[in-house]
């Protein structure tokens, strides 16, 4: 009997271990493009604020996520639906700064994280790190600094979240991931409701990477150009330059000298 149970436990453990082995697959690369349009962190995605970077539809959380940077700060836009909003709703981002491609970190090697919720006031964001499952430690409570600014606004069935975080914070006590132009880090997303324990959606930590791009975004999802208006502007400029240049030449070459013949 004991032998059977032992064999069952060994078999179960082996199957679970195999299931836990991560399947080698390429992570989806999300890009934070360089931008000169600094968004106002007010939880409102205003016209032109986020049209210069692509947004990504994240299937696990159902959120639309966009990143960009201005070489100093990382800006994040998250829009996710919620039919029955609660003040305890939250959205979290985890950075795999220890590179283990696993959720959470450990006491010796924590993962950097940031959380946004309307439960946090007046700043709706918290700079934190994770030392184990559901073990969120706020940076400022561990001798570090809270380096994020965030607003989370509920409007028409969606939460709109805008976040600003310095690319490099130098907050070692807060275990902040240091992002530099050209660097890449594993990233995960989670959303749920505080107080409901494990009832939340979360992506695997080997699903996405975030790369801080040096270039600006030039893809089709950027700001749409009004071609007709653009052409009119060019024509107006060319007419202005040509007309005044020729006029200048005519005036200076056709002016008879005083007293001359």
């Amino acid at each position: 009997m004991i032998s059977k149970m032992l064999r069952f436990l060994v078999l179960t453990f082996t199957i679970m271990s195999l299931a836990a082995v991560p399947v080698a697959s390429a992570a989806t690369e999300l890009k934070a493009y360089r931008s000169m349009v600094v968004p106002t962190i007010d939880g409102i995605a205003s016209d032109g604020e986020w049209t210069d970077t692509p947004s990504f539809s994240e299937t696990t959380s159902g959120a639309s996520v966009a990143f960009k940077h201005d070489e100093k700060s990382l800006y994040i836009l998250i829009v996710f639906p919620k039919s029955q909003p609660s003040e305890k709703d939250f959205f979290g981002i985890e950075f795999d700064n220890n590179g283990d491609k696993a959720h959470m970190g450990s006491g010796s090697s924590p993962d950097d994280a940031l959380f946004v919720s309307q439960a946090y006031k007046p700043n709706n964001g918290k700079d934190a790190f994770l030392v184990g499952f559901a073990k969120q430690t706020d940076d400022d409570k561990a001798g570090g600094t809270d380096d994020i600014e965030a607003r989370m606004v509920y409007s028409s069935g969606n939460y709109v979240v805008e976040i600003r975080r310095s690319l490099t914070t130098n907050d070692s006590k807060g275990n902040d991931v240091s992002l530099t132009v050209g660097s890449s880090v594993g990233i995960g997303f989670t959303m749920g409701e505080f107080g409901k324990g494990a009832l939340h959606a979360a992506t695997d930590m080997n699903t996405y990477t975030l790369t801080v791009e040096s270039a600006e975004y030039t893809g089709v999802e950027g700001a749409k150009l009004n071609l007709a208006q653009w052409a009119q502007t060019i024509v107006a400029g060319v007419v202005l330059i040509t007309a005044w240049s020729i006029t200048g030449v005519i005036i200076v070459t056709r002016t008879p000298k005083k007293g001359g013949s």
Partner: protein, 210 residues
């Protein structure tokens, strides 16, 4: 043929040549001003200024021709390198194209003036002033266009502090409203006609007085 490599060559070529043309114009102004204001005091400096002036004048002309040709070639190769999506999806690309066109416009006028009037431009102060203004405006647009190219390649630009100072967003298309563009063209046309008419009246009066 690698179109991207060709675009890089033509872009570097027109950037370098037009900058050389602009710098030559600046050097020519300094040399001419020196000779007219301070000339005759230090013979060695006079000779140096005359020599420099003689060299930079044709250099600016040749460099302007080469740069204009390079700019046209760069535009053609650029169309092959940059997809239409880049034009529609970015503010920086249309701004760069627009400033390049303004630069080309000015440099072609610069070349046309020099071709028509030759070196005698410098003997007529008014004409020299128009010639210099056209060249320096052309240089300005080349510099701004090059700065936008820096943004597109992610390198940034030394003009960025200036953009920040004046709150200019280079990645937002700098567009005129349609009615403003039309008004600008019509107003320019009317003003040019008025200015030329007044000028011809004044010229006639001056001729009759003399």
């Amino acid at each position: 043929m690698n179109l991207r490599a060709l675009h890089t060559i033509t872009a570097e070529m027109h950037g370098g040549m037009l900058t050389l043309a602009g710098v030559c114009v600046l050097v020519k102004i300094v040399a001419e001003l020196y000779l007219r204001v301070l000339g005759g005091r230090v013979p060695l400096l006079d000779r140096f200024a005359r020599g420099v002036s003689r060299l930079v004048e044709p250099t600016s002309y040749v460099a302007a021709i080469g740069g204009s040709v390079g700019l046209v070639l760069s535009s053609v190769t650029g169309m092959g390198v940059w997809p239409i999506e880049a034009l529609l999806g970015s503010g920086t690309v249309p701004n760069k194209i627009m400033f390049s066109m303004f630069a080309l416009n000015l440099w072609l006028i610069f070349v046309a003036i020099r071709t028509k009037f030759g070196e005698s431009i410098w003997k007529r102060t008014g004409l020299a002033a128009v010639y210099v203004v056209v060249g320096l405006l052309g240089l300005t647009f080349v510099v701004v266009s090059g700065s936008l190219a820096g943004h597109l390649t992610g390198k940034g630009s030394i003009l960025d502090p200036l953009y920040e100072q004046f709150n200019i967003r280079v990645d937002t298309p700098l567009l005129l409203e349609s009615n403003v563009a039309y008004a600008l063209v019509v107003t320019t046309g009317l003003l040019v006609i008025a200015v030329l008419y007044i000028h011809s009246l004044m010229a006639q009066r001056r001729e009759s007085e003399s």
